[in-house]
Assembly symmetry: C2
Homo-oligomer: 398 residues x 2
């Protein structure tokens, strides 16, 4: 493969300009030289972007795709009753220009809710977008930049798998608390997980269910699940390769690694984020662990204590206590880093200054041992809450 | 009644100092000249202050009380296995000094979780606290100040009821999302609702269940339900007055009015609060309305948009959509002030500048019409999220 190429069979386009109405327009295009096989995952928010509704409609007809059109700045959500029609019309024009069926086109949008897609502008600039298509690494970077909103840097993760390649391009900095289901909607995280392997549909669904979705559902920046969250997992639509058990295991690991690295990038580039915290819940049934982890993760008092490196573990214990799960709080142990700050539901009287040192780092771990039952660890990632987050999100129609 | 007296039969004491270990100690005492009848309500957080555990124990033995001892600066929660014993020992000393049974003493604490009560200091200063008891208005103000933590001003609401009086003293600025049950725990809001009427226990319970608890459960500052929330509703323990139906109705109204005014004071003095927002959910079954109202109220994106007077209603609609309730989002209408910004789940294309004017006020209303079924309006109050909130709560062990 050429030194400046990351993946075979894909081209990447992007285009940005300021329109006549003084609005910023940013378009992106992922194009398959032949065709791709796509397994999607969308937000579970009842409010759904028209881009998701149209993509779902198209995917119902065929899993074979030619391209993915993206825009940032406008969520294409709740923007009037013509929203779906406008989205379809744009797909039709793009389809005719690429000489494919409109069902072979997927769309993904991110930005402000309530603003309609600028149909005329998008259609006008499609030729320029198409002519920008290229398979160079530079075009991948430009595409990754075209989907950003409040993110400060493009998120690209690449791994090789034998002679083949796995490339993940993502965006998302706020309204991040993914709740994804296979074939069901989830939002403002956009993830394009691409490979030049040709994988069987069943295997792709398995990987999506067992690796990709659990990974992307395991972190939260602000607890606000967006109506636009989308993952498109795409492989080449050729005769599927036969993989041995060992190869499948290896593929799982590589993709898990790609997802984890992508999430790390999303977390550290979260709106106003200065710290990422790993929450580990042990000895607790998964369904409870999930509720407890999310209650702790989304607590304003916990997040602000993280921000100030304040070893105020009482806020963590109080969040566990109000989570709605019934259990014996006198069994709970809490560790901050390697220090056990709560033993049997009460203070272990560890020196605050020592614990504070752990919390001054930009990444640390909180372990909550519920001592309920033997169970697999449940891991969830969260961030601190800073004044910058408030600044970014209190601005007039960000 | 003397011009400087608010209520008969009660005395109020307070004492504050800096202890030898350089810690601030603030004590308060509500003392009944004869005896009081008390109906309590506590936090539903599984984590409970030792003050609540001890008060619950005492109230199990008798509803007749002599006094309520308060402290601020230390929550008396999760502070070691001797916490309950220490609390009881303090009650015992106070009981002997007042020549009453320790079961006739209630306690309430607010402050940092994990710090044990400074037993020796408290016991040392009890004589000074007792000698400060007085029935003057000035002593009420001093007591109200003694229970404050991050609050900036004392909260006292007074109403007359015929020749009798109702006095409410409260504190609470953060960790405020009351979830109270009758006789069950709820936290860091402390409310002392006192009357010099003598009411029947049954009527007091009815008022608590129908007026006081629903009122105090209908607002949130940060979604963090504290392990210390306490309401003590106290009337004089004399022969109960016989009230006519009309008088009872009037009493309900006066108490509702006292609660609403107290909540208004708590909201506007919330940590870093610059705006209070009334959320009204219409045409929606109560159990759904509650979940929707709380999801909207606690959304970081909604709260920061409130702060910036940003008419970004998409965040409200997205919060409704991720609340977990199943319904048809295409039926939802949203009003900001009198402007219908969302009609049938999509933009009503109202000029942002007009809506922004409503949101620039320090109090405004959001109405969410779910159009599901005829039902009573559900009302919930929330606040904005400011940089000052982050500032206050990221400080080292606030």
């Amino acid at each position: 493969m050429r030194y400046d190429k990351l993946i075979n069979g894909y081209k990447f386009g992007s285009f940005s300009c300021v329109t006549k109405n003084n609005k910023k327009l940013k378009l992106g295009l992922i194009y398959l030289e032949s065709f791709g096989r796509c397994i999607p995952s969308f937000t579970t928010n009842l409010l759904k972007s028209n881009s998701i509704i149209v993509s779902q409609k198209h995917l119902k007809k065929t899993n074979r795709i030619k391209c993915i059109l993206t825009n940032s700045g406008c969520a294409n959500t709740a923007c009037g009753k013509d929203g779906i029609k406008i989205t379809e019309e744009i797909c039709e024009v793009l389809a005719s220009k690429l000489n494919v069926r409109k069902e072979e086109i997927l769309v993904a949008s991110t930005g402000v809710i309530g603003v309609p897609l600028p149909k005329k502008d998008i259609i006008n600039y499609l030729p320029q977008l198409i002519s920008s298509l290229s398979d160079s690494k530079n075009s991948v970077v430009k595409f990754a930049k075209s989907i950003l909103t409040t993110d400060t840097e493009p998120k690209i993760v690449y791994r090789s798998f034998d002679s083949k390649n796995i490339l993940c391009i993502a965006k998302g900095a706020g309204m991040i608390a993914p709740q994804l289901n296979l074939y069901k909607p989830h939002a403002t995280m956009l993830v394009f997980l691409l490979t030049d392997l040709s994988l069987e549909k069943n295997l792709m669904e398995e990987i999506m269910n067992n690796v990709v979705i659990p990974s992307f559902n395991s972190f939260s920046i602000d607890g606000d699940t967006s109506p636009n969250d989308t993952i498109f997992f795409v492989s080449l639509d050729e005769k599927p390769v036969k993989l041995t058990r060992a190869e499948i295991k290896k593929l799982y690991n590589v993709i898990k690694n790609v997802c984890d690295e992508t999430i790390r990038k999303l977390l550290f580039d979260g709106e106003g984020v200065t710290k990422v915290v790993k929450i580990v819940i042990t000895n607790c049934p998964k369904k409870y662990a999930e509720v407890i982890a999310k209650t702790v993760s989304n607590s304003l008092l916990v997040k602000t204590a993280f921000h100030g490196a304040d070893p105020n573990w009482g806020r963590i214990l109080a969040a566990i206590g109000r989570s709605g799960i019934k259990f014996d709080i006198n069994k709970v142990d809490i560790y901050i880093g390697r220090y056990c700050v709560v033993k049997n539901g009460t203070s272990n009287f560890v020196d605050d200054a020592v614990v504070r040192k752990v919390m001054l780092k930009n990444f640390f771990e909180i372990k909550i041992n519920m001592n309920l039952t033997k169970a697999k660890e449940f891991i969830f990632y969260t961030t601190d809450l800073s004044k910058k987050y408030v600044d970014i999100n209190s601005k007039y129609k960000t």
